[in-house]
Assembly symmetry: C2
Homo-oligomer: 238 residues x 2
Amino acid sequence: MNPQPNVASAASLIADPARAAILMALTDGRARPAGELAYAASVTAQTASSHLGKLLAGGLLTVETEGRHRYYRLAGPHVAQALENLASIGPLEAVRRKPLTRDAQKLQFARCCYDHLAGRVGVGVARGLQERGFIIPVADKQFEVTPAGAEWFGRMGLDVTKIKPTRRGFARQCLDWTERQHHLAGPLGVQFLSLLCAKGWLRRSKTSRAVQVTPQGLRELREQLDVDLAEIAPATSG
Amino acid sequence: MNPQPNVASAASLIADPARAAILMALTDGRARPAGELAYAASVTAQTASSHLGKLLAGGLLTVETEGRHRYYRLAGPHVAQALENLASIGPLEAVRRKPLTRDAQKLQFARCCYDHLAGRVGVGVARGLQERGFIIPVADKQFEVTPAGAEWFGRMGLDVTKIKPTRRGFARQCLDWTERQHHLAGPLGVQFLSLLCAKGWLRRSKTSRAVQVTPQGLRELREQLDVDLAEIAPATSG
DNA sequence: TGGATGCTTCGACACGTATCGAAACATACG
DNA sequence: CGTATGTTTCGATACGTGTCGAAGCATCCA
């Protein structure tokens, strides 16, 4: 009668608080060693090891050994997507009472989603790119780069003709659950985030998914893409 | 350290096999009484009642009392979406060995996703509508109906100007995990499924999410939208 | 009003599993 | 080669929770 016992088993892997913390710590797409994940989940190394083994067996994580460290990362973007999707279910009562921590505000403002830019800034940038006619949404949850867009990316220092599309596309539309709008993902999104960091407009946190917008970035984003971050910034950056 | 205990609690609600079975039984968007759900999950009425209470408290279900029956349904499309999304995580080993049951094949071929058409047929229809220029994907995971599309829907017997958009849009792009492509959801998708059933092209199963394509539907879909179901049909319908 | 049906609450039991201490294993460093 | 660090395995414990029998409400019907 039930053709999908899958959902239950997959969900049970995410259901444990420690495992959920581990997964959330990996949603930026970076790989982290077991010890760091144990610390992030506030459990001992043994406990974390047990969890990591289960997540691995369940296909949620992959691992690569390097020296005496074992680096874990999410098995793919679809796992990150499922996590964000799950987060959209329950927050009705749990989050509302507390007015969001400082860190949570930063995350909502700007963060990286697996390996590209997300949050208010991510959505704003994607919207700016569309309004300028640099990218247009097309079928299959993809963006297409217009000739004008290619030229603009080129002036920014990004040769879009040199970016190789993966099996899942070249410039994906990724749904942002905090904003309920799309931001730019896929190889182009990855390269674009790197570029903005290299130009000193953004700065990735070493310890979390948070992304900081530099004063220069504030100015340039407004100038280049008409993204007014002042309006959407959290208290500190306003 | 963990700003989202949400994912863990939401996942734990889906993690139980009985609850998962209940949720999956509701993914077609219809409302069902508690007893039927107990049967679907193969548990007693007391056990099911306990689960239903938890799902209700967790915001995954809503309920309406009618006489001595209590009808439960999914709290919204986002829950169905999260379920389908979760299903895409684990099926690597669990499903592969068995070549899919008869029922599972039917579901993969054509089913309703909450309240609109999904599966191979759903994706094929959406693709056909796009190739004919009747709908085009736009930002925010939405479809836009072209003038030609409005005319075509009109000839089919569906006045698109009379369909009210909800808060979440008018014609949504819904990701189909079996096909990894979009199909048509939202109010337009709902109305369109009703229309195809009314015209006798499709027939919804009373007991499951499966949707059957009638011989007339087979012919008309090919004629109107160039959807060749013969190629993508399961054994029986080929 | 009395009995049937549908559903929920209560209480007790049993099973699963998350957790950590101790120890084993692997790798790097001096 | 011995020691330190990172990680996993083993074993025991304790807590949570899914399960069903029995009883309690609510509704419908005669």
